[in-house]
Amino acid sequence: MTAKASLAVVAALAIFFAALAGLGMPKPSADLPQLGTLIAPLPEGPAKGVADRACLNCHSGDVLRQQRLTEKQWTANVTKMIGWGAEVPEDRREELVRYLAKNFGPGNVAFRPVAVSPIRANR
């Protein structure tokens, strides 16, 4: 292909894609973050500090933020996790359950998983 023909092809493509953009075609997205690079904080509240210390050593807040559990279910889960080593001061335990049930109760539909990059082979 001559240089002139190449230019013509590039120009045609440019016009074509500009036309597509004008038609409201989906735009290419930004590069996606990698799995594990987006760490969402837990919501504010009186027991946030207790939840941070008790829960986030072993797993991210994603696990909490996606739950829709009753106070009874949260009580059972907090008991289970304390048995597995979560550090919750005895006098803050009920407060923690109330915080979890308030923020991540049956009506919690706010969680959306973030889109992340495919996993590179060396990870």
Binding site: M25, P26, L69, W84, I119
Partner: protein, 381 residues
């Protein structure tokens, strides 16, 4: 929280043209533009599922395959890693990766699905990772047959259960993920795999070697495998006696059972998903609906679609590619008859006659969801 920016990253011309081609192809089919990505369910320990619109190929690529961890694990050094075979055997073994690779090489193509895939779809909600549809994939697993390893060790007739353990240590007082499965199944078709889709098994998938149990849920597929130990009795502990159990006789939604009223999960339930359908269609213009179907039975007998809530069903074409316990791709040209919102639902039937139910059977841990999968399509005149 870091915010995912919607701004455009700098693009090379090649990348721009490549994306244009993908856009064109997708638009021609009336499909959304596929974007290679995973959905993060847990930043750490890493849990991520594959979006349904990417589960459109017979083989799920390694980089798009869902990942699931109980805790932050460290992959062992393949140079020093050993697989111990002990228990009810005449000759205990300690195998390096090189030793393992000297056994006859075998490849199986089959589905790996997390026991909790679809948990978020149960009502009332249950605790655990709220997987939707994508904690599942189909891959070629290459390794050595468990049967050959146990034969070399001289497994005894007293062995009824194969105990398995990985190198990953749990944090704090969390119980270890120690498991067992019936030795009959392990001897039938389980393998110790060191390759996934022709590449060395990736660390997040259990490198250097993991167990592959065709047709059975992912909790049996021990990653970072360190021990195979045939024993007379099942393994004990939280992940056998409490976790990964399903009611012997399930009750109404919300009814919970004691562990002794439940059994360990084994085979997958028959299931199909719609992975490609247009958001909009025109009366009289055929649109292609695509999907995957799989089961704990070796094959899928048929996949059907309904656009009238199950009154009438049309049988889909099954894909040519097929292996025992692998998924089948399926497709069906569907022509809308009248305008309005239409709900299309798919159901699969497996080679043993099990039919995917309208509603999955609620269970307290949210395992093995397999209700009809449906999509809504806006039909215009």
């Amino acid at each position: 929280m870091k915010v995912v920016s919607g701004d455009l990253a700098p693009l090379t011309r090649r990348k721009f043209i490549g994306m244009g081609a993908v856009t064109l192809a997708s638009t021609a089919l009336g499909l959304p533009r596929p974007e290679r990505r995973l959905l993060q369910m847990n930043a750490y320990a890493p849990d991520a599922e594959t979006p349904l619109d990417l589960l459109t190929t017979y083989i799920t690529p390694n980089d798009l395959f869902f990942v699931r961890h109980h805790w932050n694990a460290t992959a062992p050094d393949p140079r020093t890693w050993k697989l111990t075979v002990d228990g009810e055997v005449a000759l205990p073994l300690e195998l390096s990766l090189a030793d393992l690779k000297r056994f006859p090489r075998t490849t199986v193509t089959c589905v790996l699905q997390c026991a909790g895939n679809g948990r978020s779809l149960y009502t009332p909600p249950v605790p655990g990772i709220q997987w939707r549809y994508g904690a599942v994939g189909n891959a070629r697993w290459t390794g050595a047959k468990v049967r050959d390893l146990l034969a070399k060790a001289g497994v005894k007739g007293t062995a009824k259960h194969l105990h398995t353990a990985g190198t990953d240590d749990p944090p704090s007082k969390t119980p270890p993920f120690h498991r067992s499965l019936e030795i009959v199944k392990a001897l039938e078709d389980a393998i110790v795999a060191w390759e996934m889709n022709g590449e060395p098994l990736p660390p997040l998938h259990g490198a250097p070697a993991r167990l592959v149990v065709p047709g059975w849920a992912g909790d049996h597929w021990m990653k970072w495998l360190a021990k195979l130990s045939p024993q007379p009795d099942p393994e004990k502990g939280f992940y056998m006696d409490v976790g990964y159990r399903y009611p012997a006789k399930p009750g109404e939604p919300g009814v919970t059972f004691k562990p002794e009223e439940m059994r360990p999960i084994t085979e997958l339930f028959v299931k199909s998903n719609i992975t490609g359908a247009p958001a909009r269609a025109r009366v009289g213009s055929p649109a292609t609906i695509r999907g995957v179907a799989f089961s704990g039975a070796p094959d899928i007998a048929k996949v059907e679609l309904t656009d009238d809530d199950g009154k009438n069903w049309k049988t889909a074409d099954l894909g040519r590619e097929h292996d025992p316990y692998a998924w089948r791709l399926w497709s069906l040209p569907w022509t809308p008859k009248s305008p309005g919102k239409v709900r299309l639902a798919a159901r699969a039937t497996d080679s043993r006659g099990s039919v995917q139910p309208r509603e999955a059977v609620w269970n307290q841990s949210g395992y093995l969801w397999n209700g009809w999968h449906s999509v809504e399509i806006e039909v215009t005149a």
